[in-house]
């Protein structure tokens, strides 16, 4: 028989639940995207730092293939290099296909020869670089550091942007709850007065409203998070979700789906807190 002390949800309360659902949807997608980017960024960085590339540029009058074999031999002799693969000329030309297309005769172009290195712990890349500078000045060692740094910077930027979006959504939820609380207080003024006159404290009244708004916030957050989860699953089915050779998969990772729970938990809490403070401030202004 312990009914809620406030009248049943009015249209403005239902509107608040809808607003909360939309905000949570956006925040959940932002959080999931940030978490997915962060996870994939770590994977990409680990892969890139475990690899290096030797690029052997053609020299006039020199045996191009012999230079590549020489570079591979120097690499094999370097500590911490687990695997050395010298790509043949056709293999190197195939790598240019995404940019130049297929079916072209590249025999007249000075296409560099590539040697890929798989690194293990403690790879002495600086020693290899020194030996290459001495023996093969036309060889360039690319340890992918430039790409790793760019990737890390881009990932950090995306995570910060997503965090800012989640923060803005929480602020918007607090504002919406604050306005809705004022509306609910105005609509329930007689109820609040009766509660006070039968001995309810301000804290009790504030808790009563906060409980109402926690329930509304939770309902909206559950709906918004569910919609975001469905959107995340649909992303797998879209062409962009599968990704490509350059970008990798853009789909939400399992940890990204887990990150959706963060806004789902925070938004109702923020809604309830905003309501609690709103009521305390309203009652503290002399309304009893």
């Amino acid at each position: 028989m312990s009914a809620t002390l406030l009248p049943r949800d009015d249209p403005s309360s239902r509107a608040l639940a809808a607003v909360i659902a939309i905000l949570t949807f956006l925040a959940a997608l932002a959080a999931a995207g940030a978490q997915s980017v962060a996870t994939r960024s770590v994977d990409w960085r680990v892969k890139l730092t475990r690899q290096a590339t030797l690029q052997i540029l053609p020299r006039p009058g020199q045996d191009f293939g012999a230079d590549a074999e020489r570079a591979a031999a120097l690499a094999r002799a370097t500590p911490g290099i687990a695997e050395v693969t010298a790509l043949s000329r056709p293999e190197g030309e195939r790598l240019l296909a995404p940019w130049l297309g297929t079916g072209l005769d590249l025999s007249d172009l000075p296409v560099p020869r590539l040697v890929t290195l798989r690194l293990s712990d403690g790879a002495d890349l600086s020693g290899l670089a020194e030996r290459l500078a001495t023996d093969l000045p036309n060889a360039r060692l690319d340890d992918h550091r430039r790409w790793v740094d760019r990737l890390a910077g881009a990932a950090t930027g995306l995570v910060l942007a997503a965090t800012a979006i989640v923060g803005l959504v929480l602020a918007a939820a607090a504002l919406a709850a604050g306005f809705a609380t004022r509306g609910a207080l105005a609509g329930s003024r007689d109820v609040v007065e009766v509660l006070h006159l039968v001995g309810a404290s301000e804290a009790f009244v504030a808790k009563t409203f906060a409980t109402r708004f926690l329930r509304l916030g939770a309902a909206g957050a559950v709906a918004g998070t569910a919609a975001a989860a469905v959107a995340g699953l649909l992303l797998h089915a879209l062409p962009v979700g599968g990704g490509g050779a350059l970008t990798g998969s853009l789909a939400i990772t399992p940890s990204g789906f887990a990150a959706m729970l963060l806004p789902a938990a925070l938004v109702p809490a923020v809604t309830a807190l905003a309501s609690w403070f709103g009521v305390k401030r309203f009652l503290g202004s002399g309304v009893r």
Binding site: A3, P7, H196, L197, G199, A200, E202, L283
Partner: protein, 229 residues
């Protein structure tokens, strides 16, 4: 708790105005002794309800001092206001029942807002509802009750927390004479158990049934008649 001999309510030179033109109380001073029983009478619009609202701390006087259970209400904070209100029970002329709650929930409200669990008060509430003749309307909401039933529910709500002071604004205005006598008898019994009672009424027949102090409010002034002395 206040001193046993200290007035439960004391007005000292209290003034109350609504706007610049309407003066409701003019330099009103009186005391309600502990365990006393009094009627508050006066013509319609004399300010009986306003005086009750002053005691309930839902209105503040424009001037003067009001003491409740020994506390100067002009010098207390919100927590003390709540504590003082819990020592009073009030029956509003317009009942002030919450339409979205059942009769049972309305009556239990003063206990619920104190944080008590339902298991601790359910029997008390049911017993009181039976006593006021609403045992069969426990689950009904106020819109489904008659005027008299609403009034009895409002009275039960005022009594349920065993207050030290009961303020009743026209508590028998919507009940038939037998129920009015029964309710008056209830207030008398509560008074005999130590509860101070103030009944605001314009029903002269009530005054004849109980020998009690009489606060006559007219022209912004309160005259106290005490036939018990």
């Amino acid at each position: 708790m206040n001193d046993a001999s200290e007035a439960v309510v004391a007005f000292e030179d209290v003034w109350l105005r609504y706007g610049p033109d309407r003066e409701v109380l003019r330099s009103v001073s009186f005391e309600l002794p502990p365990h006393s029983f009094q009627f508050l009478t006066g013509p319609s619009g004399a300010g009986k309800t306003s005086l009750i609202r002053l005691v309930l701390l839902s209105l503040a006087p424009n001037a003067g001092r009001i003491r409740l259970f020994g506390h100067d209400v002009g010098a207390i904070g919100a927590e003390s206001v709540t504590a003082l209100r819990r020592r009073m029970g009030v029956v509003f002329q317009d009942f002030r029942l919450l339409d979205h709650l059942s009769t049972y929930e309305n009556v239990a409200l003063p206990l619920r807002v104190q944080g008590r669990g339902e298991a601790s008060y359910r029997a008390e509430v049911m017993e009181l509802l039976d006593w006021v003749g609403l045992g069969h309307r426990v689950g009904d909401r106020p819109p489904a009750l008659s005027g008299g039933e609403k009034q009895r529910a409002a009275i039960a709500r005022a009594l349920i927390a065993r207050p030290e002071l009961i303020l009743a604004d026209e508590p028998t205005g919507n009940v038939d004479p037998p129920m009015a006598r029964r309710l008056l008898h209830l207030f008398v019994e509560l008074n005999r158990m130590g509860t101070a009672v103030v009944i605001a009424t314009h029903d002269p027949s009530l005054l004849d049934q109980v020998e009690a102090r009489h606060l006559r409010l007219e022209g912004g002034q309160v005259d106290v008649l005490d036939p018990t002395r």
